[in-house]
């Protein structure tokens, strides 16, 4: 019987467990990117969900 190959998500999880600095770096870098996006807001969201 062949062993099931790990998914990309599982590989990524295993890799970032071995290299936690990478996850920290990504979270911090994206925090700088997403900050202005959050402040800018997105009126598009409101438009889309008005029907619900």
């Amino acid at each position: 019987m062949t062993e099931k190959q790990p998914t990309w998500a599982q590989r990524w999880d295993a890799y970032t467990r071995r290299h936690p600095w990478l996850l920290w770096l990504l979270v911090l870098a994206l925090a700088f990117l997403t900050g202005p996006l959050m402040i800018g807001g997105s009126s598009v969201t409101a438009v889309l969900y008005k029907d619900f």
Binding site: L23, A31, A46, F52
Partner: protein, 435 residues
């Protein structure tokens, strides 16, 4: 009560409030205090999104009646009682959402009348612009799920406290995911941390950030392209290649935007609720890689697809299976159409959503019929080989992707003539007859 504000899960106010509350949540001793903090958030969101007291009263009646009926059905399971209440619930939903169908159903004398009943003004025959309950469509489907499951004896315990917080959960009130009550209740009673270590906490933060990027950066890029160009091709005039290129941008942009927006929203609310010890069901799994319409609904808005299967498709199909067990699989295709058509109408009150539902219904029924015919022709072994062929798989994904793009072209246009003009113009241009 204040005027309703637009609830934006990718906004700094929401994210900052979530992070601040998450920082203290598990410091609170005991589950009751944690539930109280969460319920306060739910009430705050309701206060922000309900535009007036009449809407709050209507919501209380809508949910309160559902809770009482669930209690009754748990004790005395009755098909007639369930059917009668569901009929009333559907009628209330149609009126509260002000479906366009009311204009056709109501006599013109009522449809044009203006009056005040119990302090609630009725203009032009309906409760126009007065009652606005954000997230009502999702509450409606959750309520049906609870009632049916209660009647079938699947709900062990239900209290007004858990039911209110289930229906008005600030993370799912806007647009799902449609969580099962049993799943919510079990986690609500515990409210224990679900993020096991620092790695899971960071991964969860990353998911929240990626959700914000999908909603706030990638989605708007495609939305702007779609919005700016759609006017130029809305009359279906493809007199030059420039218009053809514009149409392609419009055609592919909206599906990408919608995916980014909705999947981004789900990333945010799923990640945010995990900070508070609640695992919400996943809603997306690479939907545009689905090979047919039925598979698409197991990858796109998964919780809605599951709801359609359990509460629209199965109630129609199950009696057929019980009565004609051998013939039933060959007849299954018939029941996909009404199930998906109804689900389409649920998306909104205007005609474009009806056509969207009909299109999805045709696709789902066609898929099942095709599978039935293939099975009859190739046999089980042959069908397996057919499904495993990489070329067939690629072709199926390509066809389904374009089927969904057409579907969202219909979905995106309030004026139902526009997608018709566009597609007609495209066909005429491709066959050498541009108008």
């Amino acid at each position: 009560m204040n005027a309703a504000i637009d609830f934006n899960v990718s906004g700094v106010e929401f994210i900052a409030a979530v992070l601040a509350a998450a920082a203290v949540f598990f410091w609170l001793p005991g589950v009751r205090l944690r539930q109280l903090l969460w319920a306060s958030g739910n009430l705050l969101v309701l206060w922000l999104v309900l535009p007036n007291a009449a809407s709050a009263v209507a919501l209380a009646i809508f949910l309160g009646s559902g809770y009482v009926m669930a209690l009754v059905l748990r004790r005395w399971s009755s098909g007639w009682l369930l059917a009668s209440y569901l009929t009333l619930l559907v009628a209330a939903f149609v009126v509260l959402k002000q479906y366009a169908v009311l204009d056709w159903v109501l006599p013109s004398a009522i449809a044009q009348s203006s009056t005040t009943v119990l302090g609630i003004a009725i203009r032009d025959g309906v409760l126009q612009h007065l009652l606005r309950i954000l997230g009502l469509s999702y509450m409606f489907f959750r309520q049906i799920h609870v009632l049916v499951d209660a009647a079938q004896g699947q709900i062990e315990r239900i209290s007004p406290w858990s039911y209110f917080n289930y229906q008005c959960n600030l993370f799912t009130i806007l647009a799902g995911p449609i969580q099962r009550f049993e799943d919510f209740e079990e986690q609500w009673r515990a409210l224990e941390p679900v993020l096991a270590d620092g790695h899971e906490l960071l991964t969860n933060c990353l998911r929240l950030e990626l959700g914000v990027i999908k909603i706030g950066l990638i989605g708007p890029l495609f939305y702007q392209a779609w919005e700016q160009l759609q006017g130029g091709v809305s009359d279906g005039s493809f007199s030059s290649w420039k218009y053809f290129a514009q149409f392609l941008v419009v055609f592919y942009s909206f599906p990408i935007y919608l995916y980014c927006n909705f999947a981004g929203y789900c990333d945010i609310v799923i990640a945010a609720s995990r900070f508070f010890g609640m695992k919400l069901p996943e809603n997306f799994n690479h939907p545009y890689l689905a090979r047919n319409v039925i598979e698409f609904w197991t990858r796109w808005h998964i919780t809605l697809g599951t709801w359609i299967r359990d509460y629209l498709f199965m109630p129609m199909y199950k009696p057929v299976v019980e009565r004609w067990p051998k013939a039933a699989p060959k007849l299954a295709w018939i029941f996909y159409f009404p199930a998906f058509a109804v689900a389409g109408v649920w998306h909104g009150t205007t005609l474009n959503y009806l056509y969207y539902g009909v299109w999805q219904g045709l696709g789902a029924s066609g898929t099942k019929l095709y599978e039935t015919l293939l099975l009859a022709r190739l046999g089980r072994q042959g069908l397996r080989g057919y499904l495993q062929s990489p070329a067939i798989r690629f072709l199926a994904i390509f066809v389904n992707l374009h089927f969904q793009c057409v579907s969202l072209l219909i979905f995106s246009q309030r004026d139902v003539r526009v997608p018709w003009h566009m597609l007609r113009g495209l066909v005429l241009a491709l066959t050498g007859h541009p108008h």
